[in-house]
Amino acid sequence: MIDSERLHPRPDERTTPTGMVGAPVPRREAPAKVTGAARYSADVHLPGQLEAAIVRSPHPHARVRSVDVRAALAVPGVVDVLTPADTATVRWYQEGVPLLGSTVRFVGDEVAAVAATSARAARAGAAAVRVDYEPLPHVTDFEAALDPDAPAVHPGGNRTKAPKVQGRGDVDAALATAEVVVERTYRTPTAVHNAFEPHGCVASWSGGELTLHASTQGVNDVRSMIADALGLAHSRVRVIAEHIGGGFGAKQIPWKDVAIAALLSQRCLRPVRCLYDRRGENLAAGKRGATRQRVRLGARRDGTLVAIDAELLGDSGAYRTGGESAALWGPYLSLYRCPAVRTTTTFVYTNTGPAVAFRAPGFVESIFALESAMDELADRVGVDPIELRRRNHTDVDQEAGRPLSSPTALPAAYDRIVEVAGWVPRPLVPPDHTEGAPDRRADPAITREQTVRYGRGFAAHDWVGGGASPPGFADVELHEDGSAEVRTTTQDIGTGTRTLLAQVAAEQLGLDPDEIRIGLGDTAAGPPAPTSSGSATAPTMAPAVRAAAAEARHRLLAAAADRLGCRADELHLSAGEIAAGDGRRCSVAEVLAGIGPEGVRGRGATLGQPDGVTVRTSGAAVADVEVDVATGEVRVTRIVVAPDCGRIINPRLVESQIIGGVAQGIGFALTESQLTDGRLGTVVNASLEDYLVPTVADTCAVHHAVVGVADEAANPLGVKGIGELPMIAVPAAIANAVSDAIGVRITELPITRRRVLDAVALAGRAARSRPQPARPQPAQQQPAQAPADTAQETTERPR
């Protein structure tokens, strides 16, 4: 059970006159979602609607010689087939390849699409399309893709661009003189979003205008990108996303379902629905690309960092999708105070599905590596892991040379997590592996209690998101009858946007949140708003709605002042009543009735970033694990997270984001990995049967250590985003806990039973094959001796 303390530690009378901001208001669409009334794009059914099915390449790399549609068109119910010849002018991905390829570059790449009167007929039609492929050599392993002899995914080599070098200071000199150097290579897997509502779109045309019901995180971006791709005016395209069945980043750009539905609908003169099936969703709808990270930390004997060097390699898949699919360099440059940092980042093309942003893209992966290395450094210098992070804390954005907007938040997160997790400071002491693991299979008398090891791990993180993504606009309107509505074109992707915007408006207007209609998720609903990504929706749109509501309130009170014959600043607005200091009063409805049909309107906006500071978010996580060294099983028993999301508008919604982020972090740490057969080039677990998203049995107790530091420098509400934060440090904390339990560092995610057993066996062999060192005493604060296997990649310089 989540153990969120009662909020709000710092009630702010100025911004919470009605107590609405900070209240655990129930999610407003919850009744629609528990009764099945909530309508998703996948549920839209228009008169005469056709269903589309996609023909996907069975080859990882091939030239399409011809596409024969005759048999498909003979299938009863099939109306039309879209082929590469029909779509040559529609360009896709950053490479600008044709929508339906004359060359296919991964198993699942789109070749043709069939429209039919039923989904079943469309699938039969897709199966009847005959494609003549000329297979080409392929490479699916992202490390092998850099081999000079590797097949080229695109002409010009497999680097998506020249390696990106960032940083500051003289890293080589700093490493040469560092008293301690920790060096290791980490790997993270390919992970798939697997949102439960697949990517999908219903397209319909009317009078030269295109309406798209799309499952997307960004109605405005879908509108502009699809309009541009099809050569339409933006004003002729309307995009609607009323409810979205999960996105997690994969729906922050339009995918081919939207273009295919639009084109087929245009050709057939009927609405067309194109939904990806689960296999398509796993193959061709985005992924968190695998990474290899070679990390070197240089430090003084007291743990103070003097150098960070990170060589980063990431899998882009066959195409670049736009946006930031993995900001791997981020935490190395920003999380810790360090005068010399160098990140060298290379992304490679492979014959696999394209990568796209996935909840804190790049940071989840690089925090695993950086925080594993920091724990190893703590071990080496004999300093408590949290104390080591404190010693390396920074108040400033070192790249931009300006202060962070909320520099006390991360130290507060450390304080809170120590308190809530009951963290006992320690130097890390590696367990003794001399005895090896008892074999439960050989001796049934050995119990789990004898083979289980307990561990606790910590990780810190920051995140480039969580601040605003301007511009974002909102309108607030008070109607003649006294009713109120907020209109904007942001989205509610399941995070509770409607609810928190209603709270913010209600606070200004003196109304109950339930009385305010929220119009969003529709390009026709209101003024522009950004895509829901980067944890930016709350910090962009809550201040915009607050400003719009404040303007409407100002105009309402001005009209009331005229009516009552007093000054507007003498008036108090509450519960639909406007009262003057002398007791005279009138109702909001009376004032509005006097104004007439034009009502009262306000517009608010978030137009830019605050001057002189960098807005960032950060936080920390502690994981408790049980590792059975006989079976390799890792059980997470508790996670504590302390995310800095500024002032909390709705603690109930924040708790939901926290338990969800923690669950996805557990999945990334322990179970999730998309596997590709390198020889065939095909994904072997493109289903929910074999791609292991966490189940209810994989979750654990989750505690929220509330940081509660409003970021007043970020925006007047002090609000930052929460969505991505609770996930970021969880895999790293689990990995550090496993290391604490078994004394061996697992350097590759997910931490499978095989990897645990191999690591324990290796440690046992190493321990038995060398003279026993004297075990250090924790109280002496001496550097702990690393076991031989963990020392193999480390170098220690003489003082």
Binding site: T35, Y40, F196, T495, S656, G661, Q664, V693, T695, V696
Partner: protein
Amino acid sequence: MSNDDAYGDDAHRDDASARWSADLDRRALRRALVRINGRAQLIATEERTTLVELLRDELGLTGTKEVCGMGDCGACTVIVDDDAVYSCLVLAAECDGHEVETIEGQARGGQLSNVQEAFIACDALQCGFCTPGQVLAVEAELRRASPADDAALVEALSGNLCRCGAYRHLIDAARLAARRAAGAGAGAVAP
């Protein structure tokens, strides 16, 4: 809705085409009388139509969601004769003479069910796409064993995945609904 046929080789495609033609000859529709959310409905459907296809595509009951189409995820869970079943693994024609309850039938006379109320109270949902199946999985468990024991509640949820990861709140909601059901039951026995 598996689309595996679409990935086969060319020989399989010819076969698929031939199979489809042959299928046409035996496409006689099956009639069935199914009680859906308390009302007897006469349906005429292809033999291979699954229950989820019947509900969503033919009857417009889109509250039931289809996610994997192969019994992995539980999103399409409905109640058939008081048992929670994956409606993607049940043929519509098999339901002849049986009682099917969907999410649309859970609120009676505008009053949400105990389980639905508990889901709202605990915010046991985020994107909401798996929610109808989760509600019905808990509902079936509470009918099967009331008072439900805690391990059985978690077990009842274990066949339903939630990609948003709302599990902690789902467990809270199941426990709350079980407590309220037990309380209501006790009240009925001892007025």
